[in-house]
Symmetry: C2
């Protein structure tokens, strides 16, 4: 990845403004923020001094991942071999050496103490996170001078740099490899889990090697028909063994991570041919999404996105079927903390924010329809980072 | 799942022995241990009193997952809707009500404070974990009478019940759906990431609906040839865009989760036809694995498994290519803390433990060969939970 001078400058001026001398992070999403390096296993740490280059501590085997970032200052430790020390011992030693070298003792050190929703590392089948042992280690190393900067990091993350936006465009391109498979596979008779699996396989199989991508993965969930579809707003991350039937709404919820950068997309197609009420609902959701998108602009209160989408659905007489907010930040995680495009949120959007806009309607006996794209807020409007067609698609047509 | 009376009895007698009045957990792997329920999102909690049924607190939408477990005492909270309270507020309220109802104030409450390697929930693209806010909530609710019982839970988990062993057999059957695809797909010219994606797609696509399975997922990584293969013991969870070449070792690392229960398998095939040295290496690893498996029995020190496998590799003259341990516990997580089949570990194996046995050899210019199965330790030996053929397989033959 090109060196992200803009991010480094923003981080270090932000630290100055917050009175922080350094930051220590190990959540993969924050290691990525601070160094452009997306950890494979979640066993890596970054120390960023206010006036110096980020220092990375990483397990042997992640050399290539680190080269893809923009830190030039890495200390490796071996692990997993019969002669290697336990990783926590190696990390503590390297962190202590770093703290001494940077003169961090007694200074004001920020850390990520309150992240309770977290993104996985690339190896998402098993995480390595901080609990009591790591927190005790940090307190010992930094003499209890640690400051919880979770809210500050969330705010920094919400506004992306040019390098990060380019990475998110690529993530959405990889996600589209899956969407292309979805609209072909979601035909009457297909099994939900097989459709979802084909989407994931396209992302992993074709995505690796696409425009230099080393690591990517999709999480696809397909929820179809009058019952599964109706739950697709609160039980939205599972696919069943149900087979699609003629006229079903078929909703695909798709999270995609490409080198640590996330896309969050939803598409709904109709298996076979759409009935009249489904067609009406689909077009209403599309109109509501567009109304929300049309509000996006630097300085607009977040609630206006929701209000615009809601107004369309209410005017159509379907408000009782639209239970959730209009979207959220996306990029360093599937669902970022900021901004929330929710009713009553008067915080202004900022140019550089990347958000989803995703109204939907759901009903028992009807099914579920949601359309979700990823958009970059600009000074005078917005740009789509996702570019997959949004119009009604009937797979029997 | 059938009610696991054996697990509940073991937990409650274990709590009595440890002087614990109750346990509070929220890591998906421990919620599963305490209730048979595998959380979808990681937003669920379990309170187990020493003398009562487990109490589950869960988000709406996970009703079916809970039915698959063996708790009958669940309190739900809504989330994600515009009128819902934030999940942490709902959880705190329900936990407090539970604590009052069970009379837990001032009593000795165990919790999972030191788990730093963790299993994902089913929705593995995003986790919900305890950091400072949740830990503060627990301390407030339980008046600082919390005890870290991580080591105790690890020991309980290591020895599986009959119900859990049946679930692990099924997980290995689902994993085999992926292995069947692997041995067909790993031919010269195929791309590593596409082979891995096909394995994952078989597990997700065919696994859902297999013998009542609602939720499963595979993590497949394919590392082939003289360079990628050589790294396959410390950089073992990634697939590249490399295309398989004639004579390559092709190593598949495969983690599979089925309703929360994990299988961890490795197979190595030869793309095309094997050269003489690869053939010799393969048969040596297979012999070493069998030697390790032959030691498994209640009461045997864990190090003996490693020593037996190592002895075979050393006798063959390949010791400098065998850098890692012989295996580990598996079941509630991809890699469980106990037991470690590592040099010097004199802890005796116990009947009911489920372990991997997985020697391997790796070398630049040679590639990587590992064979890994999951085995149940019994009173007088062991049983395979995985049943996929282990002999040398050449995909060009």
């Amino acid at each position: 990845m090109p060196r992200d001078k803009e991010r480094l400058a923003r981080l270090q001026s932000g630290m100055a403004n917050a009175g922080l001398d350094a930051i220590v992070c190990r959540l993969p999403e924050n290691v990525l923020l601070l160094s452009g390096y997306w950890p494979m296993n979640g066993m890596s740490w970054v120390v960023l001094d206010r006036e110096q280059e980020p220092v990375v501590i990483a397990p042997v085997g992640e050399e290539e991942c680190i080269e893809d970032g923009w830190s030039n200052n890495t200390f490796f430790y071996g692990w997993g071999g019969v002669d290697d020390a336990p990783p926590d011992v190696s990390v503590a030693r390297l962190l202590e050496e770093t703290a001494v070298r940077l003169g961090l003792s007694g200074r004001r050190i920020g850390y990520e103490a309150s992240f309770e929703t977290i993104a996985p590392p690339y190896a998402s089948g098993e995480h390595h996170v901080s609990a009591r042992p790591a927190n005790n280690m940090l307190n010992r190393l930094f003499n209890d001078s640690l400051v919880d900067v979770t809210a500050i990091i969330d705010a920094w993350r919400a506004v992306k740099t040019g390098v990060e936006i380019a990475a998110l465009r690529r993530a959405n391109e990889v996600a589209a490899l899956g969407l292309e498979v979805f609209v072909k596979a979601a035909v009457p008779g297909a099994k939900e889990s097989e459709v979802a699996a084909a989407v994931e396989a396209a992302i992993y199989g074709k995505g690796v090697g696409y425009r230099g991508v080393r690591r990517c993965r999709g999480w696809a969930s397909v929820m179809s028909g009058p019952d599964q579809g109706a739950k697709a707003w609160y039980q939205f991350l599972t696919s069943s063994d149900r087979r699609l039937q003629e006229g079903d709404t078929v909703l695909l919820e798709l999270g995609t991570v490409v080198e640590g950068y996330w896309s969050d997309l939803t598409r709904t197609v109709i298996a076979g041919r759409a009935g009249e009420r489904v067609r009406e609902g689909y077009n209403l959701v599309l109109e509501a999404q567009q109304a929300g998108i049309d509000t996006l602009r630097n300085g607009v209160p977040a609630e206006q996105v929701y209000d615009a989408a809601r107004h369309v659905i209410e005017a159509g007489g379907w408000l009782n079927m639209y239970p959730h907010g209009a979207g959220h930040g996306v990029g360093f995680r599937y669902h970022e903390a900021l901004p929330a495009l929710s009713p009553g949120n008067k915080e202004p959007l900022q140019a550089g924010m990347v958000v989803t806009v995703e109204p939907g309607i759901y009903g028992q006996g009807f099914g579920g329809i949601r359309i979700e794209d990823n958009l970059l807020v600009t000074e005078d409007g917005c740009e789509f980072l996702s570019n997959f067609p949004r119009g009604l698609l009937e797979t029997g047509a």
